[in-house]
């Protein structure tokens, strides 16, 4: 379905990762290719040893937001990592780590969850993005 959706994922809190995962899965279900580019704290959340941990919420969530998010999870909402796994099963979803952020966090590809397909720089990201929209989260 035409140009890809390109998501620059910068934030590493569970609420923003969830929002990005939902956008990704929705696009994948429509047959739209998706490129996810992981930077900074989002990349940290994709570390194999941390991906299933609690990554907290954005400051604006507050205590009330925490309760709301926990409620949805208790009702059986799929985690953001599970949502992304299902999106990848549909095909067309490519998840790349930003090479600068890999340096920043002293990571090697072996440190990352298998959800991550590879490491690339911003030039490769723009090349793959084509004329598609770029969303920053």
């Amino acid at each position: 379905m035409g140009e890809p959706l390109n998501v620059v994922l910068f934030s590493g809190t569970d609420d923003k990762l969830q929002a990005a995962a939902v956008l990704t899965a929705g696009a994948a279900a429509l047959g739209k290719p998706v490129n996810l580019f992981l930077q900074y704290w989002a990349l940290d959340a994709f570390r194999a040893d941390r991906i299933e941990q609690d990554h907290g919420l954005a400051p604006e969530a507050g205590a009330e937001g925490r309760v709301a998010v926990d409620g949805l999870r208790a009702a059986g909402q799929a985690s953001w990592a599970d949502t992304l796994r299902q999106a990848k099963e549909l095909g067309g979803v490519d998840i790349e780590a930003c090479s600068l952020s890999m340096d920043l966090l002293h990571l090697t590809p072996a440190d990352l969850d298998p959800l991550v397909d590879g490491v690339e720089g911003v030039t490769a990201f723009y090349l793959n993005a084509g004329e598609g929209q770029v969303v920053f989260i």
Binding site: M1, A25, G26, A28, A29, G31, A75, T83
Partner: protein, 77 residues
């Protein structure tokens, strides 16, 4: 005439976008022209299934609501 359902997908209790994601996965397992029935409770699913059907070309054959459960029947393109 009763529709000949090939497969039923119970997506009740799943939140957005899982009903659509599960449907996109499941419809690949039935033959072209086959019918899949989906049950969902996500309030966004009425508009989502209509949009998904338009975009992917899998026809929305039937849509009903019964005590908070939305039922969709789609024909695989």
């Amino acid at each position: 005439m009763t529709l000949q359902i090939t497969q039923t997908l119970d997506a009740r209790g799943l939140s957005c976008p899982m009903p659509i994601v599960k449907t996109a996965q499941a419809i690949k397992t039935i033959p072209s022209g086959g019918l899949i029935e989906v049950l969902a409770t996500d309030p966004g699913s009425v508009k989502d299934f209509a949009a998904w059907s338009r975009t992917t070309g899998n026809e929305l054959v039937e849509q009903t609501t019964d005590s908070g459960v939305f039922r969709f029947v789609l024909r695989r393109k």
